[in-house]
Structures are given as structure tokens and as C-alpha cells.
């Protein structure tokens, strides 16, 4: 059984049609990259999968781990194992990172019928993750993303993924706005998520990330449809030739 199965997905915001029939299958153990020019529908696809208000699915279906994803609340999607890494992580000044991490993990445990986590073990695990993402412990007691640099915000997204261990990580432009050092740290984090029982979807504008996190499949999204799929060489071809030639060849 595939982890994620998107069939003929159409979606719009207001009267504006953005997704025009997306088909995509992700199996456990696979890393997929979705690339495309600005306005192609990459972020909309992520938000529709994340369950954000304001998008209307007009046609098609999404099955996640055997469930009808589109009928689930945002929090239920997360607890079922689909986690969305935000392109622009939200700043929440009053809520400390440590509370967010604890609440999320407890919500997930509750959804899976497990008891509340052990505080001592939790803190130990969190501190190790903070260290592995080369962040400071003080970060745990700061407001979620409040006053963080772009790089810190993205590292924070990956840290949450590493703690929550999703079945499917959907990373929306996690690489944009990162300098090379931050990109390496984030990429290492993503590589640690890779596993035979997990799927990863990288939504990105640039090939750069894919040198650090090698995808099994690359898809090109254009005007709300996947117009071409291939292996990692497609990303390199895209880098060398640019979108225009590929779009021309595909049309």
C-alpha cells in the first residue's frame, strides 16, 4: 500500500483555480522532489495536504496511509503522521518552543493511545536534537520562532520533524532563504529522517538542496499539473537548461 496517493486533485482559492489534476504516489522509503516555477501551485498543494482553510478541493482524492486525508482536521492529519514543514514558519511570541514540542508530542501520543510522556526522557531527547541542529538550549525557552532568523526558523521546523517522526514529511521550500551552512545542517536533519518506513516530499524552487538530499524521484509542477517526472537527473537537467526548455519539450 502506498503512503500517499493523490489522484486527479483539483483545488481553487475563491474563483482562482490553482491545482488542475495532480497525480502523485509516494511509497514508504521514497524521497520525492517537487519542483516548479513560482505560481505553479507548489505551496497550494502543500496547504491543501496540510488542511488549511480557504482552499476548496473541487475534484480528485488524497489517500494517506489508507485514510481519506481531505476529510481529516489539520491536527488529525499531523497525529496520523503527515507533517508539514512551513515555507514561512509562524512567529508565536507568547508560546515557548518547549511547550509547543511537549504539546505536539503529547497530542500525538494521545492519538495513538499512549500515555503522557516522561518529562525527564523528553527533555533529554529534546536537548540532543537541539544540539544536533546546532541550536542553543536557550532557544527552548524563547517564543516559537519569535525573532528567529530565516535559518533558525527552518532548523526549528526540522527539529520538530525529528522529534515527531512523521510517516510522511512534506517540506515546503525548507531550503529557501538559507545560507550554505544552514542548508547543510537542515539537509543533514532531513537525511536523518530518511528511512524505509518513511516518505519525504521536498517542495523546492532550487536544485541546490537536492545535492545534499538526493531524491529518488523528481517531478515538475507547472500550472497546477505535474508535467514531467524522472529521477534525480531531471533536477540536474533543470539546473542546466532552465525551466523554459523543459516546459517547451513537455508541451
Amino acid at each position: 500500500m502506498s503512503l500517499l496517493e493523490i489522484k486527479n486533485l483539483h483545488a481553487k482559492i475563491g474563483e482562482k483555480i490553482i491545482l488542475r489534476g495532480i497525480n502523485l504516489t509516494v511509497n514508504a522509503g521514497e524521497v520525492h522532489a517537487i519542483m516548479g516555477p513560482n505560481g505553479s501551485g507548489k505551496s497550494t498543494l502543500c496547504q491543501v495536504l496540510g488542511g488549511r482553510d480557504g482552499f476548496e478541493v473541487t475534484e480528485g482524492s488524497v489517500e494517506f496511509d489508507g485514510m481519506n486525508l481531505l476529510e481529516m482536521e489539520t491536527e488529525d492529519r499531523a497525529n496520523a503522521g503527515l507533517l508539514l514543514g512551513f515555507q514561512h514558519p509562524v512567529e508565536i511570541p507568547g508560546v515557548k518552543n518547549i511547550y509547543l514540542l511537549k504539546e505536539s508530542l503529547n497530542a500525538q501520543r494521545k492519538a495513538r493511545g499512549l500515555g503522557e510522556l516522561d518529562t525527564f526522557a523528553f527533555m533529554k531527547q529534546v536537548r540532543e536534537l537541539v544540539k544536533s541542529m546546532q541550536m542553543d538550549d536557550a532557544f527552548l525557552h524563547r517564543g516559537v520562532n519569535a525573532g528567529f532568523s530565516g535559518g533558525e526558523k527552518k532548523r526549528n521546523e526540522i527539529l520538530q520533524m525529528l522529534l515527531l517522526q512523521p510517516k510522511l514529511a512534506l517540506l515546503d521550500e525548507t531550503d529557501s532563504g538559507l545560507d550554505i551552512d544552514a542548508l547543510k545542517i537542515v539537509s543533514e536533519g532531513i537525511n536523518r529522517l530518511r528511512g524505509t518506513d518513511r516518505g519525504i516530499v521536498l517542495v523546492t524552487h532550487y536544485q541546490r538542496l537536492l545535492s545534499y538530499v538526493e531524491p529518488d524521484f523528481v517531478h515538475i509542477l507547472y500550472k497546477g499539473q505535474i508535467i514531467k517526472s524522472g529521477d534525480k537527473s531531471l533536477a540536474l537537467q533543470l539546473e542546466a537548461e532552465g525551466y523554459e526548455d523543459i516546459l517547451k519539450a513537455a508541451s
Binding site: E75, L83, V90, I92, G94, L100
Partner: protein, 430 residues
């Protein structure tokens, strides 16, 4: 849409039980007799303030006029908030009447019932006088106060133990009480005074309080005011603070309970180097009305003030903040900051906030900001995308907002207790 109905414009007639109290013989009252007589004449002439009086535009005192003349009822006291705070010196008032004062006071601290205080202290305790009907409740307090406490902190004394005023505002001694507090801090002294007001449910009682605070040079006072349980409790409470050179006054005002909580904090910074911090959190819900008016007067150069007030209004709750900052003509090199941040959680709640800056000097750094917003949808979605239910995400955001003020309280035990009470107060409303 038609214009909103004006509120309480008609004069509020003094209720019979209050008239009866005012006509009692003056023997048991503690204000100096000349002050008492003048104040009595004022209150009889003015009655209670209405929406026509500038300082009462948003807060209707009709609930006071409607308070029934309750038969005194014996009530068990509410739990003691000072439990867990090390070495707390607890002064308990029940229905406005002073219970025993704590024994074994630290050196440099003296506590005296106002009824037995020296004439000089009583004169100082009743120094502020009412100027207009805006000050009617001050006049009423001066006319009616039967008891209070003088806290005298000697020069150089560093009082580590907090002095806790445990106001059990039940109706054991009637439906209203008028209490007066006088705090005098000698030069270079330090102290913490914590006032907690609470009452059992279904116990209508109005306490009209006044505190007068005189801080000597370089003294430091933390003054905490907590409005806790009591669904039918009414509180009107005005503080007058006079700061000497380099003195520092820090007020933390947190209101969770009560049908009405109206606080006024007047800080007069009349000597250079002095500073005040005014922090506040009000969380009206149900039909609660919570109102704070602050007035900071910078009367000397090189003085600073910092103000942060937050209201979280839910259901049909009403929150009001008015912050006046006055900088006198010769008061140069002033820094005054005011920030009023507010959360409106329901369509039937109401928040009124008004900064009022009056600046006559030219070399002044002054800033103010006021925002009223709803919970941020982006933030809610982000938390939900991490598996947190919408209800819990709302709670996290509201708690986080409230905690900014609660975390400013001294003593970890107090922070923990107030955090828990805030959570309970917030309830499980979606």
C-alpha cells in the same frame, strides 16, 4: 446601525443602605475629623459618578447602587494565597474588618491598625483629597473608612518576607466596606506588598479601597494586586503613589475574578531618578467588568516609567484601560513607555483602551501603542499542523499571552498558583 445607547448618564442616587451608613455617628471612623466632615459633604452632594464624568465614561457603577442591603452572613474564608510563599506575613481582613496582625515582624517593619495609629500617620494616610465627582469614591472612603493598616518600613530596611493583605471580601459584616492602607518607605528600603482580594460565590460585597504610598529616596516597592474568586464581588480600589528621588515602584495588577474590578493607580514622580513599572492583566468573561485607569505624572527631570497592560476579554466581558501620562513643563529627559495589548475572544466582549499623553516639556522620549486583536489564525493553523487540537491551540495562545504578565510576579510559587488560577478562569470554553 443606530448609535450605541449612552451609559448611565442619569445621576446615580445613593442607595439607602449607603445613606444609612453615612448617617452613622462618626466615632468609629478613622480619618481626621475635619477631613471626614469635608468628604462627607462632598459625597452627599455628588452621589456616585456617572458616564458624564470623564474618568467613568466606560464603567457603570449602577451594580453598586443595585447591591442589596444584605443581612450579615457568616462565611468560611477562601483559601489563603500565601500558602507556599516563604515567610509571608499575612494580614487578614474579613468583610473589611481587621483580624489579628502577624507577630514576630522582621526588624525595620512595623504594622499598626489605622484606628490606633498616630495622628501624623492618620493625616498622611488621608492626605489625598477629592477634587471633583470623578473622585467621589475617594471622598466616600475618607468619610466611611473604619479601619486600615499603616505599614512603616524603616530607612535601609530590606524586608525579604512579603507582606500579604488577604482581603476576604465576604458579607459577614454587611454588603460594603471601606478600607485604607498607608505604606511609608524610608530611604533605601525594600519591600513587597501583595494584596489578594477574594470572596465565596454568591456573596455580594463591595469594597471601596484606597492606598496611599510614600516612598523615600532610593526605596523600592513591589506592589502586587490580585483579584481572585467571587462572582458577586465588587472592588473599587485607588492607589496614590508618591516617589522620592531615585525611588522605584513596581505594580503588578492581575484581575481574574469579581463582577466589577475598577483600579486606579496615580503615580506622582516628583523627584529625579525615580521610576515606575505598571504591569497589568485583566481577563473579563461572563459579564465581568474590569477597568484600570493609570495616571503617571512626571514632575521632575530624569524620571522614567514603563507601562504594559493586557486585556483578554471573552464571552460578554468588558475590559477597560486608560493610561494617562503627564510630563510637566520643566521635566526634561523623561522616558515614558506605554503599551496596551488586547485580545478580543468573542463577538459580545468589549475592550476600550485609551492612551492619554499630555507633554509640556520638549526633551522627552515618550511612546505608546495600543492594539486590540483576535487570536491569530496563522498561529492557530501552525499549532494545529503540529497535531495540537484547535481548543488546545487557542488555550496555548491565550495562556502565552497572559503568561507574559504572570511571569513578572516574584516567587515561583506565586507564578505557579496564578498560572493555575488563570487556566481555571479561562475554563474550557471553545
Amino acid at each position: 446601525m443606530s448609535a450605541p445607547m449612552p451609559r448611565a448618564l442619569e445621576p446615580i442616587v445613593l442607595p439607602d443602605w449607603l445613606r444609612a451608613a453615612l448617617s452613622q455617628p462618626a466615632t468609629a471612623r478613622v480619618a481626621p475629623s475635619s477631613r471626614q466632615a469635608a468628604a462627607l459633604a462632598q459625597i452627599l452632594n455628588w452621589g456616585l459618578p456617572t458616564a458624564r464624568d470623564e474618568e467613568w465614561r466606560w464603567t457603570n457603577l449602577r451594580p453598586i447602587a443595585r447591591l442589596a442591603a444584605a443581612e450579615p452572613q457568616a462565611k468560611a474564608p477562601c483559601s489563603d494565597l500565601s500558602v507556599g510563599i516563604p515567610d509571608a506575613l499575612v494580614i487578614r481582613f474579613v468583610g473589611g474588618q481587621l483580624q489579628a496582625l502577624p507577630q514576630n515582624l522582621p526588624a525595620g517593619l512595623s504594622l499598626t491598625p489605622l484606628s490606633r495609629a498616630h495622628d501624623i500617620d492618620r493625616a498622611a494616610a488621608f492626605a489625598p483629597s477629592a477634587q471633583s465627582r470623578n473622585d467621589a469614591l475617594l471622598a466616600l472612603n475618607t468619610a466611611c473608612a473604619t479601619e486600615g493598616v499603616v505599614l512603616d518600613i524603616a530607612a535601609n530596611a530590606d524586608i525579604q518576607a512579603p507582606v500579604v493583605l488577604d482581603w476576604q471580601d465576604n458579607n459577614q459584616h454587611g454588603n460594603h466596606s471601606h478600607t485604607r492602607l498607608f505604606i511609608r518607605m524610608g530611604a533605601h528600603s525594600t519591600a513587597t506588598v501583595l494584596e489578594a482580594t477574594q470572596a465565596p460565590e454568591n456573596t455580594p460585597h463591595w469594597r471601596n479601597a484606597v492606598s496611599v504610598i510614600e516612598q523615600g529616596a532610593n526605596s523600592q516597592l513591589t506592589h502586587i494586586s490580585l483579584g481572585l474568586a467571587g462572582d458577586q464581588r465588587l472592588l473599587t480600589d485607588r492607589s496614590f503613589v508618591q516617589l522620592g528621588r531615585d525611588a522605584r515602584y513596581r505594580s503588578i495588577n492581575i484581575q481574574l475574578g469579581g463582577q466589577l474590578a475598577r483600579r486606579e493607580i496615580d503615580v506622582n514622580i516628583s523627584e529625579s531618578g525615580a521610576h515606575c513599572d505598571l504591569l497589568g492583566l485583566m481577563m473579563p468573561r461572563g459579564k465581568q467588568v474590569m477597568d484600570t485607569h493609570t495616571r503617571i505624572t512626571h514632575g521632575a527631570p530624569h524620571t522614567t516609567s514603563n507601562e504594559q497592560y493586557q486585556i483578554i476579554a471573552d464571552e460578554a466581558g468588558r475590559g477597560i484601560f486608560k493610561g494617562r501620562i503627564l510630563v510637566a513643563e520643566d521635566a526634561q529627559k523623561i522616558e515614558a513607555y506605554q503599551n496596551s495589548r488586547n485580545l478580543l475572544l468573542s463577538n459580545t466582549a468589549e475592550i476600550d483602551t485609551k492612551p492619554e499623553l499630555e507633554i509640556y516639556a520638549d526633551d522627552v522620549k515618550c511612546s505608546h501603542g495600543a492594539t486590540i486583536g483576535r487570536l491569530d489564525d496563522e498561529a492557530l493553523y501552525y499549532l494545529q499542523s503540529r497535531g495540537i487540537s484547535r481548543t488546545n491551540a487557542r488555550k496555548l495562545l491565550i495562556t502565552g499571552f497572559a503568561q507574559e504578565i504572570i511571569d513578572a510576579l516574584p516567587y515561583p510559587e506565586l507564578v505557579a498558583q496564578m498560572s493555575a488560577m488563570m487556566q481555571t478562569h479561562m475554563g474550557d470554553a471553545p
